[in-house]
Symmetry: C2
Subunit: 233 residues, 2 copies
DNA sequence: CGGCAGTTTGAGCACGATCAAGCACAGTGG
DNA sequence: CCACTGTGCTTGATCGTGCTCAAACTGCCG
């Protein structure tokens, strides 16, 4: 039960599999299968027993926590070429919910089988640990941002990162609904909207629909770094 | 440069090293050395190049983020027998600050050398990945708690976990200063104090100095689960 | 055209932060 | 033995960020 060639080539370029020789790669792709999701499909829930981990091919997956009263916090947005759910392989169950935001294709790897490959291939382990380390770092950063920064700071930081650091003015295209970005940043949609309006009134950005022009990058950077306070009210 | 026998025996019981045979264990302990810290000593800073990862023997280490204006958020409190800083081994630099809260002894393992051991021992890798998975899960949980729960809920949850789930009334001894616990829970010391006072006024707990009796465990559980709201004001 | 979901804007509120004062306690030195 | 000091904790008063509830607006699709 191997994958179509089209997907095999894409998997070849995933960091985790890059350095495997053809035989090892073939083994890794055994017991892998393609999954097609439509927007809103739930992939797994928190606490579900874990049988697979995943790589996104096309589309977007949201990883999120949910509270008793139904509100959500998006932990991570998983774009194509990225792996997720691997930590559950070692814990036996998933730590959060996963749901497709768009029509999404992903490859599912059998945990039990893959654990066997890991046991025989320390190089593969090292790559896996490197991925897990990056995840840990980004989670640590996220906790710092949530507790030490204001909503405005997180929004501006997000815009600057999306605008890939070009020192001068640049435009950002939001590739996701604003309420999704808001949840990712830990604010309510209304608050997100107000923050964008505030930045527009301050002349730091222009925006039309889902396209945002970063006009005054210096000021924005000051806001993100906490050197410049914008009163919300 | 091996360690005194006293410490070797303690290292033997660390999850990461449990299953190694004597030869492997001996190798792992090569290039390990003991470090003695006094309260307030900084072990590493965020961004520092990483040369070691650590296991706490005695004492307590705080892992924290710091913002421009000097305020801190404790990410994790590391008790004896626990490992930390391992993710930096794969990233090259530390993701947060680490500082001793008390007189603390720890063992430092040389990253470069240990990476070599990992490359030759997939079983060791699996153990390491399991540890990293647990860390990821607890970080994911932390993000959920910070964004989906109120301060009161986090405090109550902390007390219940510290009182190890005995269904009936129990006493909790806070083994750390309250301002440290407050930072760990993402609230200011004043707020923490007010929350404790609130719980006392509601008759759910008794407290004298650093000892807290959980009187009404049912109500406390309801508060933690969001089934019961306590107005702060 | 109506319906619906996403977004914006308004008004008011509450949680938790800030600033400030008071208190308990331990350590130090006269 | 008693000030003196410093630190950590508590309590009070006030403020602001961000949330809630509500309404209006936009774009999209049937």
């Amino acid at each position: 039960m191997s994958l179509p060639n089209q997907y095999l080539e894409e998997m070849r370029q995933i960091y985790l599999f890059e350095r495997l020789d053809d035989a090892q790669f073939g083994q890794a792709m055994d017991h892998a299968r393609m999954i097609q999701l439509t927007a809103g499909d739930m992939l797994f829930a928190e606490g579900d027993p874990c049988h697979h981990f995943f790589v996104v091919i096309r589309g977007m997956v949201k990883l999120f926590k949910s509270s008793a009263d139904g509100s959500e916090k998006i932990l991570e947005l998983i774009p194509p070429k990225q792996l997720f759910g691997e930590e559950a392989m070692f814990l036996g169950q998933h730590s959060a919910y996963a749901e497709a935001l768009e029509p999404t294709q992903l490859i599912a790897f059998d945990c039990h089988y893959f654990a066997g490959l890991l046991r025989e291939n320390a190089e593969l382990c090292l790559r896996m640990m490197t991925l897990m380390s990056h995840r840990s770092k980004s989670l640590l950063d996220e906790i710092g941002n949530l507790t030490l920064q204001s909503g405005i700071q997180r929004v501006v930081q997000y815009l600057m990162e999306a605008g890939n650091y070009s020192g001068i003015a640049c435009t950002v295209r939001l590739n996701l609904p604003k309420n999704v970005i808001a949840s990712r940043l830990g604010v309510k949609p209304e608050t997100f909207s107000r923050i964008i309006a505030k930045l527009r009134n301050e002349g730091m950005i222009d925006c039309t629909k889902d396209t945002i022009r970063l006009k005054n990058v210096d000021s924005l950077r000051q806001v993100a770094d906490g050197m410049l306070w914008l009163k919300v009210a």
